[in-house]
């Protein structure tokens, strides 16, 4: 039988949970006095406004701090196209990698993060410079003992300190900021209708004590908003409930779209290097991890090719913008067995999809970076 992890954890006692709360960072208390206040002693509306203001200060302070704490701004060229366009440039799937005659020669990582992990958790102190490019310690150690013709499966990631600017990223015609705003607006509307619903369901006495609810709603959306739900007999609960469901759906749609944009955004900075490698004739494969719906690239490159990477980079046209060597690093990847199986299965079960050809791994290497 199967059981949800959430349900299992609910039964845990405090003794078992010891230590796990240590990661919860204390937040600034938004109120001066946490003792229960009598409901009618002071206008609750002002208390709500004060608390809301404290929250706003707290949140804006936290955001400002995040940017101040040694974060490097990612150098994103304004001409960067969405990754979906870049992906079209490289259509060689992992199925082709499996058919490649060199597949048995490739050196895979023993313990690096899988290629579908786009954001790095590798500490900066574990990054080492090798021939003017940053690589992980594991990769560095393997390169030190490798011969020039040894093949490595690699991917590129931003440093863990890099903050990507989602606000300017365009996804399906809208910027990240617009998608964020739409999600927040949809959530605000949903919460407000829910608040109205709660108010309508109160007894007359409770309504008197909770007039702040109405003031909050009017403050946010005006009296016209309330009028739409009023009839001669009072508020129309049926209409409120319908609108609440609709607003919840709208919120989830906006949230899904924003989340999808964030996923694409997180992976969009790296295809630039892979497109460049593809131009050089270095085999690049597009992978897809079905369980997490993540697209990624990995390149198969020799030590000798890698040694000349920086030198060759300056000579090649880069229509999608510069790759940020300062803020990104290369890492070996573990063998993506599950993704290769998925790719092979996809082409095997869909006869209309042509199997991508395996790139020729010897002829396409430009003379400048051949051994």
């Amino acid at each position: 039988m199967k059981k949800n992890l959430s349900e299992i954890l609910q039964s845990a006692d405090a003794e078992t949970l010891e230590g796990l709360f240590d990661s919860v960072k204390t937040k600034e208390n938004p109120t001066q006095n946490t003792k229960k206040k009598p409901k009618n002693n002071q206008p609750i509306f002002f208390r709500v406004v004060a608390v809301a203001a404290s929250f706003a200060l707290l949140i804006s302070g936290a955001i400002a701090l995040t940017f101040l704490l040694n974060r490097e701004k990612f150098n994103r060229p304004s001409s960067l196209e969405p990754s979906t366009d870049l992906r079209k440039e490289i259509d060689t799937s992992l199925a082709a990698l499996a058919r490649s005659e060199n597949v048995d020669r490739i050196i895979w990582s023993a313990d690096a993060e899988p290629p579908y992990i786009s954001a790095s958790s590798t500490p900066l102190e574990e990054l080492v410079e090798w021939n003017e490019i940053l690589v992980t310690k594991e990769f560095y150690d393997r390169l030190a003992i490798a011969s020039g013709s040894d093949l490595f499966a690699v991917t590129a990631r931003p440093k863990s300190t890099v903050v990507l600017d989602f606000n300017d990223f365009v996804y399906e015609g809208k910027t990240g900021k617009e998608l964020d705003d739409e999600t927040n607006t949809a959530l605000s509307l949903y919460e407000t209708i829910q608040l109205l619903k709660r108010y309508v369901l109160l007894s007359d006495e409770e309504k008197e004590q909770n007039e702040w609810m109405i003031r909050t709603i009017v403050g946010a959306y005006g009296t016209a908003f309330l009028e739409t739900y009023k009839t001669d007999e009072g508020f129309d609960l049926g209409l409120i409930s319908d609108d609440s469901m609709r607003a919840e759906t709208d919120f989830h749609i906006a949230q899904s779209k924003r989340d999808a944009a964030q996923t694409v955004f997180a992976t969009s900075a790296f295809p630039r290097l892979f497109v460049f490698w593809d131009y050089l004739g270095i085999p690049v494969y597009s992978g897809y991890h079905k369980a997490t719906d993540q697209h990624y690239y990995l390149a198969v490159i020799t030590k000798a090719q890698l040694a000349l990477l920086k030198e060759n980079y300056t000579t090649v046209e880069k229509p999608y913008g510069e790759f940020d060597f300062e803020n990104c690093y290369l890492s070996m990847v573990p063998y993506p067995e599950e993704d290769i199986a998925y790719a092979i299965n996809k082409y095997a079960t869909n006869p209309t999809t042509p199997v991508p050809p395996a790139p020729d791994e010897s002829d396409q290497v430009p003379a400048t970076i051949q051994e």
């Binding site: 006692d13 405090a14 078992t16 010891e18 230590g19 997180a266």
Partner: protein
């Protein structure tokens, strides 16, 4: 004031000790409650929930055993349960397949002791996953925080949180496969 001194104060002056608990742990309790209710409750409702946590703590003070858990953990559990009760009434429970763990059929899940033992085994394995995976699973499946909140707290991207949670669940299932 550290926890040891605070506990000593309880023996001498209970009301002063409670006041000190409020002073020391309100921010911590607030973080847990806001993590769970921040997206579905108003500020004043969150504040009320934080207050309820301390009221419940004061009412059940005799149940607290410092030999078994720290004051912080004890308050954390109360805070999580208070917030979960409110959240349960606000949002429909959504079943997530990614969250499922295989339990042997002969496990008696009606038995409270068996349930506690199962939770203990699972939590020990979660702790062994290491940071940040153990924190992600704890926050997601125990505290009920959203991906966005976890990402903000742990300084990761939301997609990375989801991916890590997925991988951590896979690891956990593998580890538990031979233990249950």
């Amino acid at each position: 004031m550290d926890e040891k001194a605070l506990l000593a104060l309880f023996a001498n002056d209970k009301s002063k000790a409670l006041e000190q608990v409020l002073k020391t742990y309100t921010g911590f309790v607030f973080a847990i409650v806001r993590g769970r209710l921040g997206e579905i409750c108003t500020s004043s409702e969150i504040e009320d929930c934080v207050n309820d946590v301390f009221i419940r703590f004061a009412e059940n003070l005799e149940k607290f055993n410092p030999d078994r858990a720290s004051l912080k953990t004890y308050l954390g559990v109360i805070a999580r349960n208070c917030a979960a009760n409110i959240a349960r009434n606000r949002l429909p429970t959504v079943s997530i397949d990614d969250d499922l763990i295989e339990i042997p059929d002969d496990y008696d899940l009606e038995d409270e002791i068996a349930k506690k033992e199962l939770a203990k085994t699972v939590i020990e394995q979660i702790k062994l996953l290491g940071s940040p995976d153990s924190e992600i699973l704890f926050r997601k499946y125990y505290l009920g925080e959203s991906t966005k909140q976890i990402a903000a707290e742990l300084k990761l991207s939301p997609s990375n949180v989801d991916v890590r949670a997925h991988r951590a669940m896979e690891k956990l299932r593998k580890k538990l496969g031979g233990m249950l």
